[in-house]
């Protein structure tokens, strides 16, 4: 299983990597913003996307919309992991097709559960 982790903060990318490692997922590709993530999706087969919202260059919500409007990648499960906890943000992400929305701060258990759910959905 190949996971794309998108966050402008290296710390959060490491935290997500650690959580993935705990559940046996070692194959991780990192990107610092939505634009870089779209480039990764052009050249690599990705099974799951975990993305932040607020990022320079291209935000997570714009990245989500770009993914969901592209037939080639729209079925990849998309988890938004963000500090944006306001109702309006959550609603916008849901309307844009997000598969799960996790608000920072989170416990590793919460993120693990969301990843396991996505894994089950794609049968991996």
């Amino acid at each position: 299983m190949n996971v794309l982790v998108v966050d402008d903060f290296a710390t959060m990318r490491k935290i997500v990597r650690n959580v993935l490692k705990q559940i046996g997922i070692e194959s991780v590709v990192e990107a610092e913003n939505g634009k870089m993530a779209l480039d990764v999706l052009k050249r690599e087969e990705i099974d799951l996307i975990i993305s932040d919202w607020i990022m320079p260059e291209m935000t997570g919500i714009d990245f989500l919309k770009a993914c969901k409007s592209d037939d080639g990648i729209k079925n990849i499960p998309f988890l938004m992991v963000t500090a944006e906890a306001q109702k309006g943000c959550i609603m916008e992400a849901i309307k844009s097709g997000v598969d799960n929305y996790i608000v920072k701060p989170f416990t590793p258990d919460k993120l693990q559960a969301a990843i396991e759910k996505a894994k089950a959905r794609i049968g991996k």
Binding site: D8, T11, I15, P56, T82, E84, T107
Partner: protein
């Protein structure tokens, strides 16, 4: 400053410290900052705009900043490296997000920005608001209370 502008920062800070760092930080006596300088050695700053405007700064001494990095990432660090700076930026981002969620409960909508981090003691910082800066110190143990070794995280903010 109205208490409804202070509580969101207290709730946000304590929630983030507990969930992300596993620490129960005890809030000390709030103080008004008389000088516009950073409280610790590493300081994450984020502006808040929307229905109101303000600034929040999360400031730690070197030891506390390295503890935060180690707790979040699971790696030791010798000095205030770029990794530590990044970790303090992310903690600032998360506390700001939680505070904005709390403000929303009072029908105050605020927008996010990307935080910046200052490294250095007593660096001058000018908040965009005219009212005084409130400084909330949160004390925590570096070793689950097995010694008297306490560190402090300052949550400094001004909001109008």
């Amino acid at each position: 400053m109205d208490i409804k502008y202070i509580n969101p920062f207290i709730v946000a800070a304590q929630t983030v410290f507990k969930t992300m760092l596993g620490i129960s930080a005890e809030m000390g006596k709030p103080a008004l900052k008389t000088v516009n300088r950073t409280s610790g050695d590493v300081t994450g700053i984020m502006g808040l705009v929307g229905d109101k405007k303000g600034t929040v700064a999360i400031s730690l001494r070197e030891k506390g900043a390295k503890f935060v990095y180690k707790t979040l990432v699971g790696e030791e660090c010798e000095s205030i490296s770029q990794d530590v700076v990044d970790a303090i930026g992310e903690i600032t981002n998360i506390i700001s997000g939680q505070a904005r969620k709390e403000f929303e409960k009072n029908d105050i909508n605020l927008n996010a920005a990307i935080p910046m981090v200052i490294v250095g003691k007593e660096v001058e910082m000018n908040f965009i608001t005219k009212i005084p800066i409130i400084s909330l110190p949160f004390y925590f143990s570096l070793d689950n209370g097995s010694s008297n070794d306490k560190e402090v995280i300052y949550v400094d903010f001004s909001f109008e």
